[in-house]
Subunit: 158 residues, 2 copies
């Protein structure tokens, strides 16, 4: 298949992941326009749409939708060091927090740590890793923490 | 399930939420173009970007990013019946699952149920409700389940 030609430089299989391993990402800045565009499409609330209206809300100023922060984090993960064979496929997560809002101009990056590695009982070709991913801004303040499970391929026997 | 476009917009305070209450939303269809556009910006992986490349992956065909499903769910929630005073402000989540992928042309809707209602100990003007939101497709198949906590304002005394 043509897939072989597009294989990424590093591909990690289940056997390559170890509890305690850490991975980082590049950095990505978010603009006010991007915050407002995401909100207009997916989370049209005053505190994500309008700088003035946002002043009198819980956020006391324009803030990115939490789902925008999550989506930006996904981009950083996809382009970051984790690189599971088969791609980053989330099975679900068990914890998600946004301790601090993302503001226009913030520059985000991620730090991930492997918390668990286990083969699937029903699918001999795959397994699951539990990963905690922390998203930080340019001041090293945490803007998101999530603990999620990724489906990862096992190396083929033989 | 029933949509009532004539329903008046209400604002619910913490005191208006009761465990066991349920809320629904309207419906929203997602196109292949939207799935690919979201993926290009936030989750650029073959199974979200390219119909042909997606055939040989875990998803066996083009599928929406889980974060796209989450973002579409947020839009349905914002425009749906929950309507907390002060807006829908997520404090975090303790469970998120994507039991089935969202495909081009799928039409999504949400069903939410209040699991907990509690005043804040530190902030007398607000509280938290725990809400389970299930996102279903046009065949009533579950595509996402999340249990999240929303910050909700209390009615002012006096």
């Amino acid at each position: 298949m043509a897939q072989d030609a597009t294989k990424p430089i590093v591909e990690r299989y289940l056997e390559d992941f170890v509890v305690g391993q850490t991975f980082t990402s590049g950095r990505a800045q978010v603009t006010q326009q991007e915050i407002q565009a995401f909100a207009a499409e997916f989370d049209p609330q005053p505190f994500h749409l309008d700088e003035n209206a946002a002043q009198d809300t819980f956020f006391k100023g324009l803030a990115a939708s939490g789902w925008h922060t999550a989506a930006m984090t996904m981009r950083l993960l996809v382009e970051g060091e984790v690189k599971p064979a088969g791609g980053i496929i989330g099975a679900g997560f068990e914890e998600m927090r946004w301790p601090r809002p993302v503001r226009p101009g913030d520059e985000l990056r991620t730090e991930s740590e492997v918390l668990e590695v286990r083969p699937s009982k029903s699918r001999p070709d795959q397994g699951v890793i539990k990963l905690r991913t922390t998203t930080l801004n340019q001041n090293d303040e945490v803007v998101q923490v999530f603990v999620g499970s990724l489906i990862v391929l096992r190396r083929r026997a033989g």
